[in-house]
Amino acid sequence: MKFSHSICALFTLLSCSTFAANDTQSLPVCPTTSHQLSHNDTFGVQYQLSGAQHGTLQLLRSQAQTAYYNPENGVAEWWNFAIADHPSFIRVFAKHQRRIDYYTGDLRTLNIKVSQAEMESFATAQLLKQLSHKGPATCDGSQVYEGDVKQMHYRVIWSDELGLPLELSITHNGQTKQWQAQKLIPANEVELTLSRWQQFSDTDYADIGDNETDPFLAQMINQGFVEHSEHAVYDSKGKPMHGEHIH
């Protein structure tokens, strides 16, 4: 998948909430050195989106798994790169306690291709290489990067420890969206969430079309809930939301 698509995909997902913004701006979280986290640990980060758009998004990571979860609508996109060439992808609908599982052939028919590095890095792994290093940031082991890519201005505070941005702001046509890490989600919470999702009733994407009498799936099929674009994301009524794509 092209880098721009990855960013675009994530930002479709990330910008899906429409609830009012939190007025009090939290400071970026600094990972604590007492619990030295590394890229391979199980942990999560909650991001708050502010500026031109608002929303909350949780990134959950455990071994080769990365999930993006929108707590507002209960929809998650959950990747497992245990077999790097054939990642598994699951879309979680927490409010319905249902899952749609996508296998290799399904992902191909949907033209969904993602890079593990992009998924794990909040879609910034490629971006960093195109920005200039501006020096250390306030949190230990974090660095500021800044620059322009394809008419967008990016500013990233990158945590080497987490392999994630603590802050990411994107300015385009005078409008700025800012993602800010709000809090760390502890390993046990991440594991609990993933194991809860594991228990949800699952349907193969390929089987959706043969199960139109299942009320949940019928809603998915007819309202475009399941798969409308390559990384669809949905509002609380199941309507796909076409967030501002950033190419």
Partner: protein, 543 residues
């Protein structure tokens, strides 16, 4: 009526099994609101308690009568002429799919394509099959395959249980199970096989060996506790606990996780099995059959000695097997449908009493649901190759049927020039009848593909740019012949739907002459039953 006597109420057959001690279901037949089992089965006269469906089920009696008439008026093979029966089913393989796949295959060989014939299009007999189920104009695979293999139409979502049952209601199905051709073949002492590129527990293969009021009850985890408590069994377990004859000889396909306990991790993927009951059905297979083998990748599969292995279970994917287009890229390696058919026949042919084999190209349906014509056509060509193998390996004493369970809303539009790439944009002919210099365009001046869908996920590649002025994507910007391309759809839906028109059936071998004209889908069972005299052979072998 010998037929009625053996195609008797399933409860009777199940009760009989308890006698032979090879089933754990005996209790189902012995108790319940319908009273003692067996009477209707043995006297073969009436079915007023609803059990002997062969005497009272309208689908069954009408199909039987149609065959009886045809067998007297046609150029006729006598009843029972076919020693073996092979049934091929392309899931969702409507007539437009056949036409497009025929052209696709020809063009892959560098020909113009239209003149090509798929292997089974050379069969001497063919007909049209009405596919409606007993409650839907446009059906799913559960009632359609039930009709094909049991002679009885039923409701959507129900597998080899008559429509006296209510979908998803366990007790409503008990006593209304209808016997399949594969089960009769086993009772007759024949060898049997089920091959599919879908999960073996998926509706089409499941209809040959299991009975379920809900097609989604593929593992115990997929069933409500009430259904388990009421004595219903999941589909995967029914394959292993199969109570007739000496058990199914060959079962090859996908769906591995449905056979594995949730405490065991899949050998190919980092996922646990789906069974909550702790059963590992793959190891049960090899302990149940001393001449049995279980394989899960192509290398193991090709290494099986088919002369000594008489019960072969192959589960090549966690869920459905790969599309043919993606098969070469599978991590663990998967056999093709033709390879599975070939080796299944090697195992089955060793029985002097003959065999019954069902082969399903299960993923044509899924590619269509995804609006992805290329993969649907490649899987159809793979079915054609599997049939070719059967044509080569099966002797003249074998009835081969090729059909579909239902169609899809898949269209082939006008007016491309002869030989135009079937997946491509329409390029017509000019006023002198020669290939036009430019693509044909719609009223907005935009090109379009020959293939399309009446509904489904629709436009080209994901969220790429569309020409919003014309309300259609500018297909000049797309590689429409790419394997991943999704054809346009008129009505936007996230999953393309089945279609309600007739499908084709092709036949060769003894009894093939019965396959002609326009027929009800449940007739196909009666054709197989007549050609193979399955019921009588089963009865003879039981006594």
């Amino acid at each position: 009526m010998k037929l009625n006597a053996i195609v008797l109420a399933m409860t009777t057959a199940i009760a009989a099994l308890a006698l032979t001690g090879c089933g754990d279901d005996g209790e189902n037949g012995a108790v319940g609101a319908t009273g003692p089992a067996g009477q209707n089965g043995t006297n073969g006269q009436n079915g007023n308690d609803g059990r002997d469906h062969t005497a009272v089920n309208q689908w069954f009696t009408q199909g039987q009568a149609t065959v009886a008439n045809a067998s007297e008026t046609s150029v006729s093979d006598p009843k029972g002429r076919a020693k073996n029966i092979i049934l091929f089913v392309g899931d969702g393989m409507g007539v437009s799919t056949l036409t497009a796949a025929r052209i696709y295959q020809g063009q892959q060989r560098g020909e113009s394509g239209e003149e090509n014939r798929l292997s089974f299009e050379t069969f001497p007999y063919s007909g049209l099959v009405k596919t409606y189920s007993s409650n839907q104009q446009t059906p799913d695979s559960a009632p359609t395959m039930s009709a094909i293999v049991s002679g009885v139409k039923t409701k959507d979502g129900i597998i080899s249980v008559s429509d006296a049952a209510i979908r998803g209601n366990c007790t409503s199905g008990q006593g209304n199970e209808v016997m399949s051709a594969l089960e009769l073949a086993e009772i007759a002492g024949m060898s049997t096989g089920v091959v599919s590129t879908a999960r073996l527990t998926h509706a089409t293969p499941a209809a040959t060996y299991s009975h379920s009021v809900e097609r989604n009850w593929e593992s115990d985890r997929d069933m409500p506790q009430a259904a388990l408590d009421a004595g219903c069994h999941d589909i995967a377990s029914q394959l292993i606990d199969f109570p007739y004859g000496d058990g199914i000889e060959v079962a090859l396909g996908g769906g591995r996780s449905y056979f594995m306990p949730n405490t065991v991790t899949d050998p190919e993927y980092a996922r646990a099995g789906r069974r909550n009951d702790g059963r590992n059905l793959t190891t049960e297979w090899t302990s149940k059959y001393s001449d049995g083998a279980y394989v899960w990748n192509r290398e193991q599969f090709l290494a099986v000695d088919t002369s000594t292995t008489h019960h072969l279970l192959g589960l090549f994917e966690n869920s459905h097997m790969q599309y043919e287009a993606d098969r070469a890229d599978d991590a663990a390696g998967e056999p093709s449908l033709a390879e599975m058919t070939s080796r299944a026949l090697d195992v089955l042919k060793q029985n002097d009493k003959g065999y019954f084999l069902m082969v399903e190209a299960g993923r044509i349906d899924h590619a269509h649901h995804a609006g992805n014509a290329s993969r649907a056509l490649q899987d159809t060509v793979a079915l054609s190759e599997a049939v070719r193998v059967a044509m080569e390996k099966a002797d003249n004493d074998t009835l081969i049927l090729v059909t579909a369970d239902h169609s899809h809303v898949f269209t082939i539009a006008g007016y491309p020039v002869r030989g135009n790439p079937i997946l491509g944009l329409v390029r017509g002919v000019d006023d002198s009848g020669e290939a036009a210099a430019t693509y044909t365009t719609d009223s907005n001046g935009m090109p379009y593909t020959t293939l399309g869908y009446a509904n489904g996920p629709g436009f080209g590649f994901g969220s790429d740019a569309m020409n919003t002025d014309s309300y259609r994507p500018d297909l000049n910007l797309y590689n429409v012949t790419d394997v991943d391309y999704r054809q346009e759809a008129t009505v936007p839906m996230d999953s393309e739907t089945h279609a309600g028109e007739d499908v084709a059936v092709y036949a060769r071998g003894p009894g093939a002459q019965l396959v002609t004209g326009s027929v009800e889908q449940n007739l196909l069972f009666h054709v197989m039953n007549y050609a193979g005299d399955l019921a009588a052979r089963a009865e003879a072998n039981q006594n």
